[in-house]
Amino acid sequence: MTPPSDLQVSDRTTDPDPTRGLTRGGRAGRGDSVFRGVALVAGLVVLAVLALIVWAMFDKGRDAIRVSGITFVTGDVWDPPNNTYGALAFIYGTLLSSLIALILAVPVSIGIALFTIESVPRRLRRPVVSVIDLLAAVPSVVYGLWGILVFAPAIQGFYQDIADTVGTWPGFSAVFGGNASGTSFMTAGIILALMMTPIVTSISREVITTVPSAQREAAYGMGATRWEVIRHAVLPWSRGGIVGGVMLGLGRALGETIAVALVIGSTAQITSHVFLPGYSIAAVIANEFGESSGTHQSALIAMGLLLFAITIVVNIAARSLVTRFDRRAQGVT
């Protein structure tokens, strides 16, 4: 088959020496080993830096863990003047705000991805994608400032309305009831969802476009409606990649510092009411590190290590989920 004329490749049918661009003899082996060496050094440097960071944090955080013991992770009282360091309220806040972000962001993001691929006219696809990606370009601190200055005061009335209606129904009152505050778990969750959405959307979009058209065509051929095609042909194939994208977004949500610190309300408490103020690990470190010293500072560093551990656990869980989905999609299990 002759290649198209606008492709710039050497015309192999008439070139006397097809191997012209390649190195020969000893030089080829040397290039390979240099490349391998550089790649090895790069990989080792990254691992070494990671190990050094973990070791340094562990070394500096040791004092606080020695003082608190296991209550560092199980205790919910954070009282630096009285040398009491219990991180449970912050762990709870980190997980709760990320969970709210997950619940809000994932359906919306997958919906946007499906929408841009299935429903948007081809001409409009590029602008729509660009606008979504623009959300990712907004710096976190801008989200935080907008959240504390505009969003939180405006949304407080809306929260109170929900608390007064849905919050009085049995079963819902534990989550939506009580006094509503503009700076709360819910607001932090919403801001995190806004930050997660572009990441999850763009990855989902990439993954969904890799679904072979044969799959889609086969489903259409059997008389499936558009939604059935999506549900039976597209989503099962791309599930693994979408989960990977969600976990990437979740990683951002777990570690997000300044935006959460500004809108979460800076009150260390464990409560099921999402409209009450809370605190997260990254937020308390950002707020208290500057003026801290001694055991207090050591406790903050130990919490950083804790956040690191939580993120690793979530990543491992994600990876195993992705592997399991991939296997199932390829019909292995």
Binding site: N82, A261, A268, S293
Partner: protein
């Protein structure tokens, strides 16, 4: 990407870079400068040279910036910088010899002293300022509070404005039944440290949360970031009460409560009342002092101290002399800059002691 698209993006990027550079270069200089003279006691500033970098307490930042402006008029060859960042940062930076001087609201803890590479640290008091208890209550323009009532309010035990304790402090004032919203700092802060220290000293059993840059505030309270954040939160909520430093409270036009001092009189926060507190403050040998809960009929009881810290031994003679000049300026001509910038200047006796301490620095 098409050529016009690329060109547009390049233009937008360049514009953004220019905008950023313009804002960075057009830095706002402090407009509270005074024309410098050759020094109140004939000190020769013009022979000094060098760069003095400082960081630390944001409480004294406004004063330091005004003094830097004034100092640059008399000592043309010395560049002084102050970065702020909090007392903790200032102390750590001085310990690591990253800066030549630091500002701090609190003394160095004994377990941190060994980390100071340059040896002995000297404390120089420069200014002080009141910490106001600002409130927002519709229909009420004057409130008086005793220390124990204050402790009860900020502990979350007193929840309504018409509580009997508040009513007892304010005979004849009709108080609404609005709920009290306590506002405190979310970030670790020297202001919190001074305020909670005062409550620990004066409020007795009604305050059990201790003293610290951050304390275990009850969950019914509201947190805000920075003095301006607390000021904004107090202004926005009816029934709110919070502690805000004097210059921010004045700038935000907040209403202050008068606090009962040790002598039994209710005093409103003002620079004169802060100076009165400094007069009767107990001063230690190293010139650290406690102006909180001061006795004296006109003293405002929540007057916060702040210090400039430097090393006693200065190995670099040029920097050492420049530091001595800077400290001399802060304690002489610089004191005139205190009141215009909402700080209280030092009483004469403390000022003299601090000036004498400059001579104990070992230069070279």
């Amino acid at each position: 990407m098409s050529l016009t698209r690329r060109a547009t993006m390049l233009a937008a990027g360049l514009f953004a870079v220019f905008a950023l550079a313009a804002t960075a270069c057009g830095s706002s200089s402090n407009n509270n400068s005074t024309t410098g003279t050759t020094g109140g006691s004939g000190f020769d500033y013009s022979s000094l040279s060098g760069t003095l970098n400082g960081s630390g307490s944001t409480f004294q930042k406004d004063f330091n910036e005004a003094a830097i402006q004034g100092f640059s008029d008399v000592a043309q060859n010395v560049t002084v910088n102050y970065a702020g960042g909090g007392s903790g940062k200032g102390k750590t930076d001085l310990a690591n010899e990253v800066v030549q001087w630091a500002g701090t609201d609190s003394t160095i803890k004994s377990d941190q002293l060994s980390t100071f590479k340059g040896g002995t640290v000297l404390y120089f008091p420069t200014v002080a300022a009141p910490i106001t208890v600002s409130f927002n209550l519709s229909g009420v323009s004057k409130i008086q509070l005793s220390a124990s009532t204050l402790g009860g309010i900020f502990s979350g035990k007193i929840t309504k404005w018409n509580d009997s304790a508040i009513a007892a402090d304010n005979p004849g004032v009709s108080l609404p039944s609005t709920a009290i919203t306590v506002v405190h700092r979310s970030d670790g802060s020297g202001t919190t440290n001074q305020f909670t220290h005062y409550l620990t000293l004066a409020a007795g059993s009604s305050w059990a949360l201790g003293t610290g840059d951050t304390v275990n505030w009850p969950t019914s309270t509201k947190a805000a970031n920075g003095n301006p954040g607390v000021a904004q939160a107090v202004k926005a909520t009816d029934g709110a009460i919070g502690y805000v430093d004097y210059s921010t409270a004045v700038a935000s036009k907040l209403t202050f409560a008068s606090i009962k001092n040790k002598s039994g009189s209710y005093v409103a926060p003002s620079l004169d009342a802060a100076s009165a507190a400094l007069e009767t403050a107990q001063v230690n040998a190293n010139l650290t002092y406690l102006a909180l809960d001061a006795s004296g009929a006109d003293a405002y009881p929540i007057t916060a101290a702040t210090y400039v810290i430097v090393y006693q031994n200065q190995s670099d003679a040029t920097i050492g002399k420049a530091l001595q000049g800077w400290l001399h300026y802060l304690l002489t001509d610089g004191q005139a800059l205190a009141n215009p910038n909402n700080y209280a200047k030092l009483p004469a006796s403390l000022d003299q002691k601090a000036l004498a301490q400059i001579d104990t620095m070992k230069i070279g």
